[in-house]
């Protein structure tokens, strides 16, 4: 009954999924402008259909190794998320898009909180698919945390100056 579609992708050697309902577009790496005074994981901003949206690097956010395991091609998933009062768009850089998969709600299992390299708050659940464990990201939570980090970073640079 309760099927959900996910875009399933790879970052370094790990597999992740994001609910398609939250995704507006998947595109090849666009032209990007660096953004001064932001933390490492903010790659910059890009022009998406006439709107300027920030792009973040999930590898850096999750502190995964930076070594490239694919040819240089990378993709940006454009996500729309709602926060308190308005809609926001943001791009998320991933290494490789693998597939779109359809999963029953009950096939998404709880994420074991211990011993993970990821903050369990960021992981909505785990899908066992294609002999792989795919982590379903709670993208809103991640972006919320990113927002806080950007602000914090700003405070630091201010006191430095």
């Amino acid at each position: 009954m309760d099927k959900h579609k996910f875009v399933y992708f790879q970052l370094w050697e790990e597999y992740f999924a994001i609910d398609v309902d939250k995704i507006i577009e998947v595109m090849e790496m666009p032209k990007m402008a660096k953004l001064p005074k932001t933390p490492d994981f903010v790659m910059g901003v890009t022009n998406f259909r006439g709107e300027i949206i920030p792009v973040i690097d999930l590898r850096k956010k999750f502190m995964l190794p930076q070594e490239e395991i694919f040819s240089k091609r990378k993709y940006v998933i454009v996500i729309e998320y709602k926060s308190a009062d308005y809609q926001n768009k943001i791009g998320v850089v991933v290494d490789r898009i693998i597939d779109v998969i359809e999963v029953e709600q009950y096939d998404i299992t709880h994420f074991p909180e211990l011993g993970s390299r990821y903050n369990p708050e960021f992981i909505f659940g785990v899908i066992h698919y294609d002999d792989k464990f795919i982590l379903v990201l709670d993208i809103e939570k991640i972006l919320e945390a990113a927002e806080v980090e950007i602000l914090k970073n700003l405070d630091l640079t201010q006191t430095d100056g």
Binding site: P36, K37, T38, I52, N88
Partner: protein, 674 residues
């Protein structure tokens, strides 16, 4: 749906008329014999009456009718304008506003009766003559019993049963109990029927649900008010239906209602809520509703459409030229498209401009009321109401302007007797002026009151530890002091302006609009506050600069001058101050400040930024060109990065950040503290 649209249009129009009438009343107050104004008010009320009648707003019709009668009598010189009539007219207007806004739901019968009596007293009419003879009595909540038994052939008649049920579900207060008729069910026919308890303020609404099946439904009023709020009633009903449907349910419910109606005391709660409503209404007169629609001349729309069709034609020509590899033609078309898009941009932005009069008019009423409360006599004059300004700016100007005006009334204008003693005219003057230069709009609030007292300000600043005793200050610097947080020269906090915004908040909100606030004052003669604003929020004229490939745009209005400079040969004073034409300017090297990387070049550019009272200098690697930048938001994630007003997409598709010159110096020491 279409009806709703029409009704919204109607509400907007009536609100416009009410606003116009309000302005007329204010004029009438000063010029009580002006027959033109009286006729105009009369005409407006007549319009409201007619329009409200069309939408079945009967209370509105009656008020407007009586209102109209008052002004008819005035017009015919049967009665003359007096303070009482003016005040009553304002009151009636306020009620009309609420009636229209709430679809007549938000005003109690009693309040309306009082108002009607007041109006009747003025025109001396003893008997009411209802303007709409068939008008039903005022709407009141009623609990109805509904029995809906559709005939078995309902589907064959093309009636959507689900539609009816959906409508029932949409009712706010209801219990819907479905039953089934066993004998019919055994015959394989539609056997469902429904017993419903529904609360509504209008029987018509319920009848309309069953408009196609009038013979298959029975609607009977049970009791006044909302019986579903009474838990006993609900229990009683639930017990009834627990054992299935019976035809005596209706009678049982009716007698239950009659029995319980005796105990009810609806009067009390009514009065309570009307008291609350009075309070909300008082607040309402002090808020600006914002602008959710803009009137556009049809000529403007035609222009836009023409431009759009030119774009489309250009686009298909371009496709053709690309196919044919005709580079010369591509170039030609591209130039043409450039002009067209620029025109389109200008025209579109112009659509957002509205006359500032809307805002000015909103304050006339405020000044009148505040002056009355304070026992001051004030003439409020406006100038330049036709100045066009971006609608977003107008909405965000209301609160800061309100507080400046309140300050003027509260602290500026003296009480009448004091004014006479000082040799001033008894009536104080507050002027609200708007004017425009090429890129900026100025709004000035002038009063002829006490003005600022530099000595008092200085004393207070010393007390607060903002300056040292004996520190020499220019008058500009003194006025700068009152922009410091929590600075107030008035000893006491008054109900009116004390708890409102300080000047610091006013300036902050104006700066958010990329504007600035300046103060001029002469002790004893008055004060003027000038707000300088960009004419439109969305486009800024800027200079494009860059360092290490990152593009920045600096608003031209803040650039004093630019110069070539060698960063290795600067004779800085105390580390970070640059001597420049006899002044010491704080210096910011963009490369370091924004952490842009790359090597310092020998030949870089110095840009001197002027913020009115302060100046500073920035160093960038290169100066490029002037860009009229369409401001794009950086979005919520990056809102903390407030060094930037936003970003803009350049002609080649790349992105440049628009620097907010005020935010850059936020952390530099304020000149008074050094």
């Amino acid at each position: 749906m279409d009806f709703d649209k029409l009704k919204n249009l109607f509400i907007k129009e009536v609100n416009e008329i009410i606003a116009k009438t309000e302005a007329l009343l204010l004029d009438l107050e000063r010029d009580q014999d002006n027959i033109d104004i009286i006729t105009e008010i009369y005409r407006h009320m007549h319009t409201i009456k007619g329009a409200a009648g069309m939408y079945g707003l009967n209370l509105t019709v009656r008020i407007a009718h009586l209102f109209e009668d008052v002004y008819k009598k005035i017009k015919n010189s049967e009665i003359s304008v007096n303070k009482d009539i003016i005040n009553l007219s304002f009151k009636a207007l306020d009620y009309l506003k609420v009636l229209i806004k709430s679809d007549e739901a938000d005003v109690s019968q009693k309040e309306i009766e009082n108002l009607k009596n007041d109006l009747r007293r003025v025109i001396d009419i003893k008997e009411e003559q209802p303007p709409v003879p068939s008008a039903p009595e005022a709407k009141q909540l009623m609990t109805y019993y509904i029995l809906f038994q559709p005939n078995a052939d309902i589907y064959e008649r093309g009636i959507r049963l689900t539609g009816i049920i959906e409508d029932l579900e949409a009712l706010e207060n209801k219990i819907i109990s479905p039953f089934s008729d066993d004998t019919r069910e055994q015959q394989g026919k539609l056997a469902l029927f429904w017993q419903i308890i529904a609360v509504s303020d209008d029987r018509k609404k319920l009848e309309n649900i069953f408009i196609f099946v009038p013979d298959e439904v029975e609607i009977i009023p049970l009791c006044e008010g909302n019986a579903l709020e009474n838990p006993e009633f609900v229990d009683f009903y639930n017990n009834l239906i627990a054992s299935g449907y019976s035809s005596d349910h209706k009678d049982k419910l009716l007698s239950f209602c009659r029995a319980s109606q005796g105990e009810a005391k609806p009067q009390q709660s009514d009065e309570n809520s009307s008291e609350q409503r009075k309070q909300t209404r008082a607040v309402q007169t002090e808020s600006f509703e914002g602008i959710d629609s803009v009137r556009v001349e049809s000529k403007q729309l035609d222009n836009l459409l023409n431009l759009v069709s030119e774009l489309i034609i250009g686009n298909s020509r371009l496709n053709e030229a690309v196919k044919n590899n005709d580079f010369q033609l591509i170039k030609e078309i591209s130039e043409k498209l450039f002009t067209t898009t620029n025109l389109l941009k200008e025209q579109t932005l112009r659509l957002r401009l509205v006359p500032i009069k809307i805002l000015f008019d909103a304050f006339r009423r405020t000044v009148r009321e505040l002056a009355q409360i304070q026992g001051k006599k004030i003439v409020f004059a406006t100038e330049g109401g036709d100045t066009l300004i971006d609608k977003t700016i107008i909405e965000r100007l209301y609160t800061p302007l309100l507080h400046i005006i309140r300050n003027a009334i509260d602290h500026g204008i003296e009480p009448p007797d004091e004014r006479v003693k000082l040799g001033k005219s008894e009536e104080g003057l507050i002027r609200l002026i708007a004017f425009q230069t090429n890129v900026n709009i100025f709004i000035q609030i002038q009063d002829d009151g006490r003005g600022l007292d530099p000595d008092k300000i200085k004393a207070k600043a010393i007390e607060l530890g903002l300056i040292k005793p004996g520190q020499p200050l220019t008058s500009e610097e003194v006025y700068e002091l009152i922009f410091m947080p929590e600075f107030s020269t008035a000893g006491k906090i008054t109900e009116l302006s004390g708890r409102g915004m300080g000047m610091d908040i006013i300036r902050k909100s104006i700066r958010q609009l990329r504007g600035n606030v300046e103060i001029e004052s002469e002790k004893g003669l008055g004060m003027s506050v000038t707000l300088k604003l960009p004419s439109t929020l969305s486009i800024i004229e800027t200079l494009r600069v860059s360092t290490n490939g990152v593009n920045f745009l600096i608003p031209l209005s803040n650039i004093l001058t630019t110069e070539k400079i060698n960063p290795f040969e600067l004779n800085l004073v105390s580390g970070s101050y640059l001597p420049f034409r006899g002044e010491l300017l704080p210096l910011i090297n963009a490369r370091e400040f924004f952490d842009l990387g790359g090597d310092q070049k020998k030949n870089e550019k110095l840009i001197v930024i002027n913020l009115g009272t302060r100046k500073y200098a920035m160093i960038f690697e290169q100066i490029h060109d002037e860009v009229s930048a369409v401001v794009k938001n950086l979005g919520k994630l990056l809102q903390g990065l407030d060094y930037f007003i936003g970003a803009s997409i350049l002609g080649d598709g790349s992105i440049a950040y628009i620097i907010d010159p005020y935010k850059i110096v936020r952390d530099l020491n304020f000149v008074l503290k050094t």
